[in-house]
Subunit: 337 residues, 2 copies
DNA sequence: TTGTAGGCGTTATCAG
DNA sequence: CTGATAACGCCTACAA
């Protein structure tokens, strides 16, 4: 039951009584073929079901017109789908395809093993989507001749990097709340193993300190609405808590519910901000102010740099942190005097 | 600035003073190489930065160990990410990679054009993820020697097909509500161009008719919570409406909110059911009964059939509709007497 | 307009 | 244990 080899140029040539070269010309739409010959060839192609061989073509041309993407952990994590969509669209526009692998992180996968796996696939460049810390991140050396972009907030000495600006995200939110007159901002963090969560927490601390405010105790959730509710129930009991920054929208929603259940109004008594702007179409009335990232743009940037012809050797690689936009809704107001 | 060719077996062979064949043996972990020779070769590989060529390998072996996936329209549509994840995981387990392209449907893309594009890429089999009706669906002929799976509810004369069972979904929900004693079930449909929405609507009609119930007027939303709210506001004014089936969870949520705002309690006065079970981790307290599909399983099935060695020729192709599971929560109860 | 020769990187096969 | 040869499908370069 071995799969039969598909028809090759030579097969068509034999069937049409011409040379393989002529068939190649027809396949590539050269105009220097006599119409009748071309017709004969096309006929043979149809009958035998000719399809150009990707392997033969790439071997000859020395490139694949394909970008490789390694997703660490979990394709389904928030934002990944839009990054993937951004990469795919950019690739399509550039006439390229995308080769995707998923890296299991249970065994502390390193960039090196990902690079090895991807490099054996048809790729002219590669993109690593990092959502958790990678081992030996800084020591990693990209493979010669294979441009490699890492999606991460960290700068890398040898590879271009791009990501949502997680630190900036916190600064935007904290500054916004302090500017409104709030004395401090409480924070509900996401899962500890998430880089995004860690950076947002760090940015929250920095932003407060930069304004001379001692960061209040941290609350930790797990991204779920329920964990936000629990955090909110806790915070509702703290009178000086008038502003809460939750690391995603589900937790922000939970916080709001808990506050309401405890008799504290949003935004009159407490302001609440989330991240991702993910509930706008889900909730019938989304009232939660949220910081929205453009993950498609991140994906597009990654693609463009992964397929760049020649990375200017010797320069420091590009590093791009894309700022988010604060979508203002009704969950935020100045504190009551 | 042409990209230099990467080192080949021959280059390594030259550097190590052995034959290309020996280098190949080392690269493939053959045990019939003297350790010292192997060490010498490995050393040369390291210095020259050897990477096996996907093109060379595939050309020789006549296959790619890669499955192609064409996403029509919109990768980011609900469920697609889990299907993608299912395919990717199954592929990884089988030692395969995934080649992904996105098909633009603005120009009424057909299966044929998708097949053509995908078949020029490194694929041993392909999967089409259809979320909107395709032109000439039934006329489509798969390419010889390239197994092709279509993710759709429709049966195809030549290709294996798999999908969530959308008709069955409606029957499950409607029967459940009627069994509880409701006299009829109202339906809030999703976007008109969605196949899933159409089939759920059709299944809803069928299920009611099968039980001798005349389907009440249909309400149409656009998948958003807000559109559900509007439908719910309308339905709240209808006294005989005691059970509502919304085609997704966001609309179900909107329906519940609107009913509450109109003074009708859920589930005491009205029962509400959604589809997808997508809000469990988002809402702090998800009370909405919902039908959950296993999109990862759909993806896995598709992968396995796309990479099947020999589709038994002549047989009717496999057709699999995967049933969903009704996740029962507090939004459903028997009608008040 | 068409055909021939050669080589891209790899591996199966067979010879040493 | 190692090497030589040929072939996979295609395309560039050149020749007819």
């Amino acid at each position: 039951m071995a799969r039969p080899r598909p028809a090759s140029l030579a097969d068509i040539a034999r069937a049409a009584g011409v040379s393989a070269q002529t068939v190649s010309r027809v396949a590539n739409g050269s105009d220097s073929v006599r119409p009748e010959t071309a017709a004969k060839v096309r006929e043979a192609m149809r009958t035998l079901g000719y399809r150009p061989s990707f392997a033969g073509r790439s071997l000859k041309q020395g490139r694949y017109r394909t970008v490789g993407l390694a997703m660490f952990n979990n394709i389904t994590a928030t934002g990944n789908i839009f990054r993937l969509d951004g990469i795919t669209r950019a690739a399509t526009e550039a006439g390229c395809a995308l080769t995707l692998i998923e890296m299991d992180c249970t065994d502390h996968a390193t960039l090196t093993s990902a690079a090895e796996r991807l490099s054996a696939l048809p790729v002219d460049g590669m993109i690593f989507n990092l959502t958790r810390p990678a081992e030996n991140f800084l020591d990693f050396k990209p493979l010669a001749g294979l441009p490699m972009v890492i999606i991460t907030n960290l700068e890398h000495p040898l590879c271009p990097t791009v990501d949502n600006d997680q630190l900036g995200c916190s600064h935007t939110i904290v500054d916004h709340l302090l500017d409104l007159g709030h004395r401090t901002v409480f924070h509900v963090a996401g899962k500890e193993e998430s880089i995004a969560s860690r950076l947002r927490e760090q940015g929250w601390r920095e932003a407060l300190v930069a304004r001379g405010v001692e960061p209040p105790p941290l609350l930790r959730g797990d991204w779920s609405g329920m964990s936000g509710y629990e955090a909110g129930a806790h915070l509702a009991a703290i009178p000086e808590c008038t502003a809460i920054y939750a690391s995603n929208d589900a937790m922000a929603l939970g916080v709001v519910d808990a506050l309401n259940d405890a008799g504290r109004r949003v935004p009159e008594d407490v302001s609440v901000v989330g991240v991702d702007d993910s509930l706008a179409t889900v909730l019938p009335h989304d009232r939660i102010t949220s910081l929205r990232f453009d993950n498609r743009a991140v994906g597009r940037w990654a693609f463009e740099h992964a397929m760049a012809e020649a990375a200017p050797q010797g320069d420091t690689p590009a590093h791009c942190l894309m700022p988010g936009t604060l979508i203002q809704r009704e969950s935020v107001a100045p504190p009551a005097r």
